[in-house]
Structures are given as structure tokens and as C-alpha cells.
Subunit: 201 residues, 4 copies
């Protein structure tokens, strides 16, 4: 990960606008991912945004709130993406393929940093906030499970949807640790490979 010195080099996260809040979240996602939440200082963050550290607290009540904001946005936007994926695909098999592809995009595309923060900094949240996000994630997971239940009935998969989802989800999530978009494999090829692993034999 190359050193980033200005906000302009950072990708948008989902559809975060260019408001101060949006800029802060963009920079925060990057830094929380690179150095960890606890090791990122508000001064560092402010500098990347291009404001004074005190000004951060006009937009967020606390550093904690910034973390929550990033995670919330990651879930919110990617839930939307998942819903669209299901809607635009026809047939259960195609829908599973679309979900895998969409989640790969979430993790390795523009929202990747934010998703990584969601996973790696989960324990930095207070239990109350974990609960709050857990409820948001339930909705996200339900989209998967709805499709997988159908796939199970159609014998497209042979394992219980819950287990299937956990294992395939793990394989997808883990790509964050090794997949390089500039490598020889496209996300589509990767999606196909994962798809095949998940299929009933």
C-alpha cells in the first residue's frame, strides 16, 4: 500500500459525497485500515483531510463516532449493492454468482478499505455499537440466505445454507489479504472459481 499524502488520491467510498463528513470518513477508512483504529491519531486524520484537529469534532462527536460512521456506511452501501445484484440476476444460480461478484467488489473495490475496517476493527467498538451494526448486518446476511435457501431446495448446493455461507464468505473476505486487481486474475474469474467450489458435485 503506497503512502497516501492527499485526500484526492483516496477513492470515494460508495456514494459518500464531498461534504466535510464524507471527506473525514474517506480519510479515516484509509488510516484506520493502514495503521489500525487505536494507532491512528486524530491529528493525523485531520492533516490528511486538510483541517485542524479540533475541527474534526464539529463533524463527529468523537473518534469513536468516526469509526462507527465508516462502518455504517460500508454496510449501508454494500447492502444496497447486494440487493441490486439479486434483482438484476435471473435464476438462482445466476443470483449466487451475482452475490459472489458483488461481495468481491465490496471487498476489493472502492469500499474495500471500509470493509476491511469493519472486519479488523470490530473489537474497537463498544458492545452497544457492535449490536447496532450487527442488526444492520443481519439484513445483509438475510439477502444471501434467502437466495441460498432456494438454492438448497433446487439442489444447487448440498450443505446447509448457513455453513455454506460462512465458508464461502470466508473465502471471499480473505481475498482482502492477497488479491491484487493489477494481477493476472480478474474479479470475474475469481468469482467463477469460488462459484465452482460452492456448487454441488
Amino acid at each position: 500500500m503506497a503512502e497516501v499524502k492527499s485526500l484526492a488520491q483516496l477513492p470515494q467510498i460508495g456514494e459518500l459525497d464531498d461534504s466535510p463528513r464524507g471527506r473525514v470518513m474517506r480519510a479515516a477508512a484509509y488510516l484506520f485500515r493502514k495503521n489500525g483504529y487505536a494507532s491512528t491519531t486524530v491529528r493525523e486524520l485531520a492533516q490528511l483531510v486538510g483541517i485542524q484537529s479540533g475541527s474534526l469534532f464539529h463533524h463527529f462527536k468523537s473518534k469513536d463516532d468516526i469509526l462507527l460512521g465508516v462502518m455504517e456506511e460500508a454496510i449501508r452501501y454494500n447492502t444496497l449493492r447486494l440487493e441490486q445484484a439479486v434483482q438484476q440476476a435471473t435464476g438462482t444460480q445466476q443470483q449466487i454468482r451475482a452475490l459472489i461478484r458483488a461481495e468481491l467488489e465490496s471487498i476489493n473495490g472502492d469500499t474495500g478499505v471500509a470493509m476491511a475496517v469493519l472486519v479488523f476493527e470490530w473489537d474497537a467498538l463498544s458492545p452497544e455499537r457492535q449490536n447496532y451494526l450487527l442488526n444492520m448486518r443481519k439484513h445483509y446476511e438475510q439477502i444471501w440466505l434467502n437466495v441460498l435457501e432456494r438454492a438448497r431446495e433446487e439442489n444447487l448446493i448440498i450443505h446447509p445454507p448457513f455453513i455454506w455461507r460462512r465458508l464461502i464468505g470466508g473465502a471471499i473476505s480473505w481475498t482482502v489479504t492477497w488479491y491484487k486487481p493489477e494481477g493476472s486474475m480478474t474479479l470475474d474469474q475469481l468469482a467463477d472459481t469460488i462459484m465452482q467450489m460452492g456448487k454441488a458435485k
Copy 2:
């Protein structure tokens, strides 16, 4: 994860002995996993070990060194475990099964906390130390790849070993986020399920 108040309640990590160093690493693995490396204070750690914070520095030069120690031990011990798994299994298929089972044990058994620290606190390490550990991990990964190359030749798997390993590895690693030993699924059943996903169809 229930609150732990005394060292005695913490499992051994691999074969760490009961020396001061061993006790510190055991407590550190637990705390680094529960609260994160940056958020764990040396006072907290010392208290769990049952010594004064100043005394920690007789056994480790710095807090960083403790983290490195935990990670090193996790890799060292689990590399051993992996080697034994291969040796004790006969036939490529059985060896793959043994590797999966062994890695599930690493992640969800006694060394689980240390492995989680290895994954989740990776970025807390300096680049030099990351490199140092990366070399140790290479050896670990080579054990996998040796078996998988053979499996590829025997048409037991259809994907390139490298990709296969990444995806299956992800599914295995991810179990740390959801698998509960006290649930209805055993590690052996889980290993079988993963095995099946990885097989050529």
C-alpha cells in the same frame, strides 16, 4: 469470551512452558486478542501475569517484542503441527484432509488466540518484522503447496494450487469469526465439509 482474571484460566499456547516469558506471552495473546494490541496496556498485561509493569521489561525489551514473540510462537508451533499432519497421513487426499483439520485446530483450538493476533494485529508490526514473519510463514505455506502440487497432478483439484490454497485458507481462517466448539458441529465435520468444497467435481 468470558472475562479472564487469572493466568491459570488461560490455556497453554502450543508448548509454551511456564517460564516468565511463557506466562507473559500467554497473557499477552489473550489480551491482544480481546482488546487489540494498541489498546492493551503493559500495566494490564503485568497485572494479569501477576507482576509489576516494570518487571515485564526484564523479559522483553519492549511491548513490540511481546507481540512479535506471540506471533512467532504461533507460527512456529503450528508449522510443527502441520508437518506432523502431513507425515502421519498417507495418500494425497488424506494429507489434504489432515492439513485442513490441523489448521482448523490451530485456529479454533488452544493456539486460536495467538493465531487471531497474528491475523488481526499484523499491521501493528513494523515492516521489518512483518518481513521476518513472512519468511517463517513461507515455510508454513510451502507445506501446503507441496501437497497441493501433487494433488493437482493427481487431478484431485482443478484449480491452481495457489488460488485453491488462498480460497480454502480463507474459509478456514474465517471460522475464527463464527465457529463455536460447543455448537452442534465438530471440527471433523467442518473439515469434511471444507474438503468437499475443495475437491474437483
Copy 3:
């Protein structure tokens, strides 16, 4: 002291009008008394007045100026009250009684909060401003001393006026810490008691 949430619940201070300046001073007296000058934030103050914090600075150049304003008004108004007390009473004895009664009113009546601020937040003022107010207070004290000099000549009191004034003044000022208007003692009875203590025996 019950929590006050709106300006309307606050008593007028002396004859402060309902101008923005007047409203700010009224709210400031209340907050400076309740939480101390240093611990009162301009935001808090602005909120109680019902404006934005930035707008305060259209009426007062600084937070310091607000404190000065409150204190000035407390002295100004109560000096007036003292003068009227002397004028309306006939005979030295009656005048002393009237002064005691008037000062009790200052401290426990509508201007009580402002007077308390004058006493308790004195050290929050810069030396220059302390000096400025000291000059105003001199005039106030002179009203007392003029009457007491006469009382001394008429043998109504036996101690030097300066000492007498300090001790009786202390007894009166101190009532701020314990006197409750809703209790069983009226300010008139209290004035009589103090009067008797001050009299020659």
C-alpha cells in the same frame, strides 16, 4: 438550586432591561454562580440565552467582559439601593437598620446571584479590572462608613467603624451560604438579629 432551562425562569437583576446585553448578563450571572466562571462555556451561555455562541461576541467583546458586566451591574444597582436606604431612614440607628436590610436584600434577593458572582469569581478578573471595581466598591463602602462614623460619635457602636463594618458585613454576606427565603425566618427578623449583635452593650 433547581435546574434552569429557559431565560424566562431567571429573575431580573436589578433593573437590567430586556435588551440582548441584559439577557446575556442575566443568564451569565446564573451560570457563573452555578458552575463557576471558568467552567461555564460560552456555548452553554448562548444556549440559555437562545442564540448561537458566535452571536455573543456582537454584544460583548469577550467572555471576560461579560463577567465584568455582571459584577459592574451588581455594584451599580446595589449602590443605588444603599443610597436610597439611607435617604429614606431617619436617625442613625434607623439608617444602620436600613443598610443591613438593604444589603441582605442585595444578597438574598433578585441580585443575589450577581452578588455571589462578585464574591466567588473575584479572582477570575484581571488585576486591572479588580482595581476598577474596587473603586466602585469604595463608593459603596463609603455610604456605610459615613453612617457608621456618626454612629460611633453617638456611641451607638463601640468598635472602630472599619472593623465593625467588616464583621457585620461578613455576617451578612455569609447568609448567601445558608439563608433560605422559604424558611421560618424573614429577612426583617434576620436584620433585627444582626442589628442587635452590632449594637453597643
Copy 4:
């Protein structure tokens, strides 16, 4: 009040020893009195003590705790002083005189700064801590009231002890604002004057 630059120039408070805690409290009493609790910074305090600001927190858990410590000590030591005053005087009249003299000493002598802090920074305490100290003060006031009850029975005073104590207490406390030991009046003379004001006529 002349600028104080070194701890050595500050009087002992009661019998506070020369431990770090004692030194911190001595310096704190001085600064809290001179600039107010809220306006005194821990850096300032540490500098006067001659240690680093971080070191303060080895001896007190928070700035609040230092304030509480100072106040507690003021009450504790002066309660002792009051008890001794009563014990060493014979006859109700002499005991009252001794109490007045002792309290003047509390306020204008070595513990004067701490007593002033107790009065002027009372509102800086949390309600719980106010309550805690209020209980300590009750004991202190009871010493006064016990003697005054007897004085009332012996017709040495004509007002209810409670009111008498409040007024005389006010006169005594107020001396903090004007009495100068280097002036022409001794504390003994002052005690006599107050005594005479309190007597039945």
C-alpha cells in the same frame, strides 16, 4: 498575594508531611486559591511541586482527587484543632472564646489557603463528594453547637445557637477577605471583638 515560585515558600497545611502527596496538596491549595480550581492547570501545579505533570497521577487519580484531598485535610485538621480548643478551655464563656480564636487561626493561619479553597471551590466538587465532605463538616459544626447550646442555657447568648453560629461564623469566615496578620490588629484582639458582638447584652 505575592507570586510564589517555589514550594519551600509555602506554609505547611496543618500537619501534612513532606511526602509527594503532601507536597502536591500544599502547592494545590495555594494555586487553587490564587487562580481558582478550574483555572489551575495540572502542568502549573506539577511545576510548582517540581515534578512532571504525568507524575501527579501517581499520587492522585485525577485533578478532582487533589481538590478533594485538600478540602478533606482542611476539615480534618481543623476539626482536631477545634476539639483541642474546647478541651483546653474551662467554662462555657472561655470555650466560646477559644472556638472563635481557633477558627480565626484556621482561616488566617497556616490552613487559611486550604480553608479558602474549601469555601470558594465548593461548587467544583461533584454532588457525591460535596455530600461526603458535608458529613465531615457536620462533626465540626457539632462541636460548636454543643458549646452554644450550653451557652444558651446559661443565658450567655440570646439568639438560637444555629442562627448565632451562622452569623458569627460569617463574620469569622469573612476575615479571609480583609484581615492582614501584619496589620495593627492581632487575632486575639479580633477574637475579643467578635466575642463581644456575640454576647447577650
